[in-house]
Amino acid sequence: MTINRRHLLGASAGLVAAAGLNRFGLSPAFAQGAAPAYKPEEGASLRLLRWVPFVPAEEAAWLANTKKFTEATGVEVRIDKESWEDVRPKAAVAANVGSGPDMVMSWFDDPHQYPDKLVDLTELGEYLGGAHGGWYAGLEGYAKRDGKFIALPLCAIGNAVIYRESHMKAAGFSEFPKDTAGFLELCKALQAKGTPAGFPHGKAVGDGNNYAHWLLWSHGGKMVDESGKVTINSPETLASVKYAQELYKTFIPGTESWQDVNNNRAFLARQVSLTANGVSAYYTALKDPGMKDIADDMRSTNLPIGPVGQSVELHQASTLSIFKHTKYPEAAKAYLQFMYQADSMNAWIEGASAYCCQPLKEFAANPVWKSNPIHAAYAKASDTLRPNGYAGPLGTASAGVMADYVLVDMYATAVTGQMTAEEAIAQAEKRANRYYNV
């Protein structure tokens, strides 16, 4: 315990000194150019808790990078995997009790739930941003708190519309509509042709939240304002709910029970011709000879732009943080620095085959985005990403509102007719206030 504390004090003293140097001694250009040098502690070894990979090649690339790091520094890195919904409680408990993994690859606002338990990564974050064309703003929002990096943005798991081109053409559309009004027309036409669309209104952690947040944000609604005051009860939200009700009428029946896997399953089984998903659906179709016609006919595009006039989506965002309880903070920083080197990061993004979208703008040039037309829509994920709980501060309230499915439930109650649009919004407002008014 004493050793831990001494280490910790030493580490934070070092950081303070480094920050001081940066502020007074070094010119920004110099600070940008000079990579911070982290010297791993004697005999250091690390443990990283990460989510179970969606794409095997992504994990292979991450492990290969890790192996190179171990060869270069002698620091062993053990990687533990947990299913993506279990990372949050595991990481929170590790932060709470002060033992367990040294680093965590977590989701959304997780770092903001225990910011004081995380090592300050401002120096590394600013260096990486400067060296690689800057962080994407949305992802940076997840990693920064009060102007300091408490995590490093890792990637956005892109969400995009996938559809059957032949079915769209059969429905009388030569190209995919760009705006929400045209999109509704397309869905109506698809339904008339017996090849309907479908988006999850059930408790789908990823896809359900993606869809609900797009509905809200594309119409200009927001859960809270900048100060964290709940502003969901607005004319914009009402417009979005009304729009969702219209859209829902064109869906295949049963979407209110859909969980995360249902939409791709229905798409690949030819039950729906349009939904939104990660790129994984395409690869499933590609690998199965029986679905070759689906893979050939499949196209991807971004969700249409609503009255708000710009493309905004939630996506899934992941960050990397270092716990303060680690005995080897320098080794952990060296590891992160290594993983964000151009070579490592490019190899990793390529391995993820369009599943993980780059956190730094420089890596948008990665060849993976050009390698297949279906990837193009996913390349913009980091750019269109807007943090959860927009426009308010991130933290336990924003995380709690999402985990409690407040927004997903709001749309689901309204579209299924259990409540009127106004009642559903009022209930969502009440529920959100429980989290924001502590």
Binding site: N96, G202, S257, Q259, Q271, G400, D404, Y405
Partner: protein, 303 residues
């Protein structure tokens, strides 16, 4: 005085007894009293994951009292427990009575009856998930092939369908426990009673009503207490099938407690929901003790 020595002997005997009880007491204290106490305490705080809470009195409970989702979960839990327990009892007793008769391959049937209970809940829940799938349900498919329905049944999408579906899955899974336990009870009933009743000209129904049922009541009380407790605290089935959806129509108190406490990070509120289950559980235990096990015949009197 001799009384003193015998007294001190008795006292030292008590001391030894207490000494031997220590490990058990420590075990109970560590693994039962402490977690329960901690849970109750957390319910009175605003603890979040990663942050210790401060005492806020009954604020969590006040908030829950105004929370329509919580009341929906309470309603669902009571409905779920009541219907599922009644069905499990009915089918379980029926099955036990059949298995108690002289059937061919009796041991084989008794063994396979246990299967639903043996399969891990999560696996059977996943199987039910496919059975109830909105697009690929085997039930919908079969009925459509027969031509009874035009489109798939919306098993988990419609609130009442979803409730019925999860209850059916729970009943399927819970019957073996009830059936096998009651079967064990049935086999303790002396055959001579039935023979005597037959000689007196009792019908099958009369023998069931006046011999089997009264003799079985103590077992029924215990089995149903457990069954109600298991059902009331069910989690896995709901979590896999619906996660509480559609729109919280199948949220039980246990699943809501988890959703708010762990993924939502609101430990205090999650604990408060869990603590709110205790009165219901206590009531069902007390009902079983005083309602079912205090029959006069059990105390040597006439019923």
């Amino acid at each position: 005085m001799s009384a003193v020595s015998s007294n001190s002997f008795a006292r030292s005997n008590t001391a030894v007894g207490l000494f031997f009880m220590l490990p058990a007491a420590a075990f109970l204290l560590c693994f039962l009293t402490y977690p329960l106490g901690l849970g109750v305490w957390l319910g009175f705080t605003d603890a979040k994951i990663g942050r210790d809470g401060i005492f806020i009195g009954i604020e969590n409970y006040q908030a829950l009292a105004r929370d329509s989702v919580f009341w929906m979960a309470v309603y669902n839990t009571v409905l779920y427990t009541f219907i599922a327990s009644v069905l499990k009892f009915g089918f379980g007793l029926w099955l036990a009575l059949i298995l108690n008769e002289h059937l061919p391959f009796k041991s084989f049937f008794r063994a396979i009856i246990l299967l639903p209970w043996v399969v891990p809940t999560v696996l059977s829940a996943l199987a039910f998930w496919w059975i109830y799938d909105a697009q690929f349900s085997i039930l919908s498919w079969s009925l459509m092939q027969i031509g009874w329905i035009d489109g798939p049944i919306n098993f988990l999408g419609d609130p009442n369908n979803a409730r019925a579906s999860v209850i059916a899955a729970n009943v399927w899974r819970g019957i073996p426990f009830v059936a096998i336990s009651l079967l064990a009870g049935l086999q303790t009933i002396p055959q001579s009673l039935h023979e005597a009743a037959s000689l007196d000209g009792a019908t099958g129904w009369q023998r069931f009503r006046f011999i089997t049922l009264p003799m079985l009541t103590p077992i029924i009380a215990v089995v149903m207490t457990f069954s109600v407790l298991f059902t009331f605290t069910d989690f896995q089935l709901i979590y896999v099938l619906t996660k509480g959806g559609p729109v919280n129509a199948t949220h039980l108190m246990a699943t809501l407690s988890f959703q708010r406490g762990i993924p939502g990070g609101q430990l205090g509120e999650g604990a408060a929901i869990a603590v709110a289950m205790i009165p219901f559980l206590l009531a069902s235990i007390l009902f079983s003790f005083f309602g079912l096990q205090r029959r006069k015949w059990q105390q040597g009197g006439q019923d």
